[in-house]
Symmetry: C2
Subunit: 450 residues, 2 copies
């Protein structure tokens, strides 16, 4: 397969074709292009050109394209379509994607769009899905699935499945339900292929099936599916009725988004932004953390102001404040990152106390090695052993405390039900800067006997 | 589904049962437990108890358990098994997992283990897979797949598939090949269910199929599969022959590992470590970055040493060095994180020049806002407008330069084919600390006319 490559030339060519309204050329040019690639092209166009293309191409392709587009552009395009045109797109989509799009529409047209959907069963399923919180298994699931009754035989089952399968893009498992729609088990396609046609479903199905509750957290669903290597999982309601299913491709998106969010939080970026967002969006995501850092810096300055007398005597101590602050920040970020990742992977076992002791031993080991290097350097550079000792001893204390803070804060937040990822990055760096500098001066003061 | 919960009590109970050699109790206790959960239990046991359980339980379960275990423990357990016992485990595994385990075995027993595998076809497939680099599509793929000839009819195809499917855990697609095993297209199970039994494969198959080359980078495979929402992708060799397939569950692991690696690099952790690793492993992963930070701090101290005279006059300048260094670090990490993430998602379009201009405009905007706050604070605190102006003006310059470095370095590394993720975290923080302090002092000197 030669992978599709988006080029400026291709985008320019398409813009040219749109301007000249070369509809048939455009259609044949894009016919063989995968919808995900068409979406990449359209993302590069302005609103009018994008709308033009969406209106031009077949709705079985454009519906998939719409799902892949950047959110802002999709909203703009939908704003240019009539309710009937939107309904046509939704008609082609799986219920979960259709529900996601409806959730983005202005409230006043939602009712109209839904009433324009011709397949009433499809419309009903979409409306069902709108009830669920976006951030739950219900918000992630689709209504498309293949289910059979436990009392049927394999032949009847295959016949029924053929009909149901028409509406299901990918058949993973066949779910077995009783007369009240209660999920009883599953049947793999493979089993169906290898079973005798006269066998009864209740004799060949697997009564054990993993499922998640409709209110389950998407991250938890992702953990279950990747731990048990599932490619689809049925979703049940409070009394065990089968209400939908979640497929692994949606879970891949959940995992990616979660990883990106944690990464951005660790880097001090508070909203989901991309490199191509506007300067204004990027500023809003970044400025709050920088202001936090600024306040931290001001606090450090005020603390240092209280030690001005000491510094007039021992100017050399001043020279090492950036080093102390940087080391406190680095150790804190390392410790918190390990904890945040461990919590995300459910790897953190045992008590908080043990964890803290281990982290402090680790910090002590690192601190001793680093301090030895610093002691030798400072001693040779400034020729004063006592000052060198004061600085290096402080460094050990600062590193141990930074490790403690970096370990304790995410564990504490997690216990309180707060996402520990917010405790990484600027938050830890800033608090450790302040603590680090304070500890540094106090210990230096003690050792130098000022 | 009540999710499995690993408790200390359960582990203690199992240790007790092992000690008393209550084999039947152990077997019945663990019979209904999913292999991923059994692995979690065994991860908590010592080497002897773990080996005991692996030898006790059925190899169709323990083989899957082995794959899920922590690498150190797995190696220890395999060291306690005979080559025959290892071969029995491999017999039960898919070829990709079996090849992964063989790659971990001591070289001197590999040949013996392979010769003990009874299913010679399976052994041959495993040996085939050992040829590929672990970090390539070939190293990720399995040999288990269902393929049919283009000349068959649907009935013959279903018959053949039933046989092949016995060995394939999950059938995603049926691949269509010609007489030389060249991949021609695919057939979905759904199509097969809905097609007439007399239809010929060549008339019903889909001639378009995405595939990857056996040497493709796993991250690239992950991008392709998640972009095109694929659940399995066939792998072809240099002349287009079908040699294996990669399934989405392996890709989920690739995505997770990649995200964890980037996250750890951003936090200054250089190897793949977990919270539960030994203090020694954790130190080795963390110390190098801390030493880098230490050298950065020493460099900053030396630079500041050259400005000692200025500081005797304007001590207040000294108080703000931690603030300046922290802001330089924070801005640099933010900028580099956005770029690293954009590069990972192929979102970075346009020239480096444009990107740098945008980032510097962004930094200028942030810098102006932050400096205004700092100016007011310092002016009121110290009552000296000129000093306040010097500090705030420097802050703008420092932020702009930090944004520039944070943007430029990852883009530069990426152009050179080096993973830009190493440029985040301590690397950016440390270099920005040094540049930041240098710029701060030079500008302050200029404005204050010292």
């Amino acid at each position: 397969m030669t992978p599709f490559k988006l080029t400026d030339e291709l985008v320019a060519e398409i813009e040219q074709l749109i301007e000249n309204q070369k509809d048939t050329t455009l259609e044949s040019l894009l016919e063989e292009v995968h919808y995900a690639d068409v979406a990449e092209i359209i993302n590069e166009l302005n609103e009018d050109d994008a709308t033009y293309l969406i209106k031009l191409l077949d709705s079985d392709k454009t519906s998939d394209v719409l799902i892949e587009l950047d959110e802002d552009l999709r909203e703009a395009i939908l704003g240019n379509l009539s309710t009937k045109e939107i309904a046509e797109e939704l008609e082609e989509l799986d219920t979960d994607d259709a529900a996601d799009i409806i959730a983005e529409l202005p409230e006043e047209i939602v009712q109209e769009v839904i009433s324009e959907i011709e397949d009433k069963e499809h419309a009903k399923d979409i409306v069902d899905l709108l009830r669920y919180d976006e951030d739950s298994a219900g918000g992630l699931m689709a209504k498309e699935l293949v289910k059979v009754r436990d009392t049927w035989n394999v032949l009847a089952c295959v016949k029924e499945m053929r009909e149901q399968a028409e509406n299901v893009t990918r058949v993973h498992s066949i779910y077995v339900v009783d007369k009240d729609d209660i999920l009883m088990g599953r049947l793999s396609l493979k089993d169906l292929l290898t079973a005798a046609t006269t066998a009864r479903i209740k004799d060949v199905y697997i009564p054990k099936v993993d499922s998640v509750h409709v209110n389950e957290d998407p991250e938890e669903v992702a953990k279950i599916m990747s731990k048990y290597d599932l490619e689809a999982i049925p979703v049940i309601d409070g009394i065990g009725r089968l209400v939908g299913r979640i497929t692994i491709d949606d879970i891949v998106d959940v995992i990616r988004e979660e990883a990106e969010k944690d990464y951005q939080l660790a880097a001090g970026i508070s909203q989901d932004v991309e490199a191509d967002d506007s300067i204004w969006d990027l500023t809003r995501a970044r400025l709050p953390w920088l202001i936090l850092g600024l306040f931290g810096g001001v606090a450090a300055a005020v603390i240092m102001g209280n030690f001005e007398e000491m510094f007039r005597q021992y100017t050399v101590l001043f020279l090492f404040t950036p080093l102390i602050a940087a080391m406190a920040g680095n150790v804190g970020v390392q410790s918190s990152a390990i904890i945040v990742q461990g919590l995300a992977n459910d790897d953190i076992k045992g008590s908080i106390g043990n964890r803290l002791v281990k982290e402090m031993l680790l910090a002590l080991l690192n601190g001793l090695i680093l301090s030895a290097i610093l002691l030798l350097f400072t001693w040779f550079w400034k020729g004063d052993f006592l000052t060198a000792l004061a600085i290096s001893t402080s460094l050990i204390a600062v590193i141990v405390v930074a490790g403690f803070i970096g370990t304790f804060i995410p564990l504490f937040l997690d216990k309180r039900g707060i996402d520990p990822a917010i405790a990484t990055g600027p938050f830890i760096t800033t608090s450790n800067d302040i603590f680090g500098i304070l500890i540094y001066f106090m210990i230096a003061k003690l050792i130098l006997g000022i």
